[in-house]
């Protein structure tokens, strides 16, 4: 297996459903990071078969709602002095603001632009969400 040096102080996002690592990577703007970052795709996982991992050699702010939206099965490990000092369990958020946008062309969000885009969880298993305004249902990150 590909060796990635372990990090001293930072964040490891593990058990990301294979294929969604790049989306997390992009959302966190890690492509422009000036610190050490690793995106590992299709790593072997006993539990999942394949998984993605992101290692960030820095302490950054993470929007856990967004991570939970993309992949609630991912785990976030906060590392200090080379050791995991905290594990964050993600949840599928009940409400998300300004993360997904409504695609319904008849929705008021397509013509007025000064308010937050809000979605409410409809089905936790399917991870489907309903637009606060027009009730259109979307599955932004389908379960794989």
């Amino acid at each position: 297996m590909l060796e990635i040096t372990s990090i001293e102080k930072g964040i490891v996002i593990d058990h990301i459903t294979a294929g969604y690592g790049i989306q997390v990577f992009n959302y966190l703007n890690l492509d422009t990071a000036d610190y050490n970052v690793a995106l590992i795709c299709n790593a072997y996982s006993q539990k999942m078969g394949k998984k993605d991992i992101i290692k960030i050699n820095n302490v950054i702010d993470i929007n856990y709602d967004f991570l939970g939206l993309i992949d609630p099965n991912a785990t976030v490990n906060i590392i200090e002095d080379g050791k995991t000092i905290k594990k964050v369990k993600l949840e599928v958020p009940d409400r998300v603001e300004n993360i997904i946008r409504c695609k319904n062309p008849r929705c008021v969000t397509s013509v007025e632009h000064y308010f937050p885009h809000v979605f409410h969880l409809v089905d936790k298993e399917k991870r489907s969400y309903r637009c606060e305004y027009c009730d259109d249902i979307v599955i932004p990150y389908p379960v794989k």
């Binding site: 008849r106 308010f115 606060e132 305004y133």
Partner: protein, 307 residues
């Protein structure tokens, strides 16, 4: 408490809260004079970003019959939106003048958005193909007046069941009650959307049939809810013409119906109910329009906290 609340979507109110509105509606019908000064000194704003004369007149008459007054506009071109003002700013300004507002807008969710920026009660008077809750209130009040309650009845829906938002809304509402059964009568192309059939009707275990003929089912119905096929829903004029004439309720079809089968229609009609049916005592669509005014009176009184 319904005071100071807004009605944007039927799910905003509980079954008990709707009960309060219908009960007051029946009381107003029994003695309208008693309520003729209830809203003295109050102003209703009717904010119609797209024309809908029928709905606007119903709201305005409701307020006038309660002794209140009315301001508003009836199309976006004559309003400040034409100058580029946002919905939020328009509503915040109107709130300085009025006590309650009814809003119609072509975009789905516009009344919900507006309600986040104001404190006065707001009533959704139709937002695109999305919701039109006061039409559903009208339908329910009419059903109750004619047959006592909405429970234990067979409802036929005929016409454009695919795009007909009044049908979707009424089906959802009725699905919360005991003993209801639906017969959906439409051409294949205009059947109820999957989310209504699967998520509402099937999920609640309500018996239903989807059929493409009227006559054999007429004698099973307590109510037949007719809708028009709307030209603007079609890209192609031929499809529109072919489908709009598919189901026309006439005297001959009425002869298959029971003496206590009532015909409802949200109006306006085009040709889906032949005018020869109008004199039949079972044709209740004009009375239904009148009930719409009464139920709006009840809603205004409740949201203003007067009753």
């Amino acid at each position: 408490m319904l005071k100071n609340r807004s009605l944007i979507d039927p799910s905003d109110f509980t079954r008990e809260e709707f009960r309060e509105i219908f009960d007051l509606g029946h009381q107003i019908i029994a003695d309208p004079a008693k309520y003729s000064k209830s809203c003295e000194g109050k102003i209703l704003a009717t904010l119609f970003y797209e024309p809908s004369t029928r709905t606007r007149l119903s709201f305005e008459t409701a307020m006038l019959r309660l002794g209140g007054q009315v301001i508003g506009f009836s199309e976006a071109a004559s309003s400040s939106t034409a100058k580029g003002e946002s919905i939020a700013d328009t509503l915040r300004t109107v709130e300085c003048y009025a006590d309650i507002a009814a809003m119609r807008h072509p975009k789905e969710g516009a009344p919900r958005l507006a309600s986040h920026y104001i404190h006065m009660p707001l009533i959704n008077a139709g937002d695109g193909g999305h919701q039109h809750p006061t039409q559903t209130l009208t339908d329910i009040l009419t059903i109750e007046r004619l047959r006592g309650s909405v429970e234990n009845k067979t409802y036929g829906f005929c016409g454009d069941l695919k795009f007909g938002r009044t049908v979707h809304s009424l089906v959802k509402f009725l699905s919360n009650y005991e003993g209801v059964r639906f017969i959906f009568i439409s051409p294949e192309e205009l059947r109820v959307p999957e989310y209504i059939r699967e998520e509402v009707v099937r999920k609640k275990g309500i018996p239903f049939e989807e059929v493409d003929q009227m006559e054999p089912y007429m004698n099973q119905l307590d109510f037949l809810y007719m809708t028009r096929v709307q030209r603007e829903r079609f890209f192609n004029e031929e499809d529109y013409i072919r489908l709009k004439d598919r189901f026309i309720l006439d005297k001959e079809k009425m002869s298959y119906a029971r003496p206590d089968t009532y015909i409802l229609h949200p109006l306006p009609r085009v040709n889906e109910i032949s005018t020869e049916v109008d004199d039949d005592p079972r044709a209740q669509y004009f009375q239904q329009a009148k009930n719409g005014m009464y139920v709006r009176m009840a809603l205004i009184l409740k949201l203003l906290g007067i009753y």
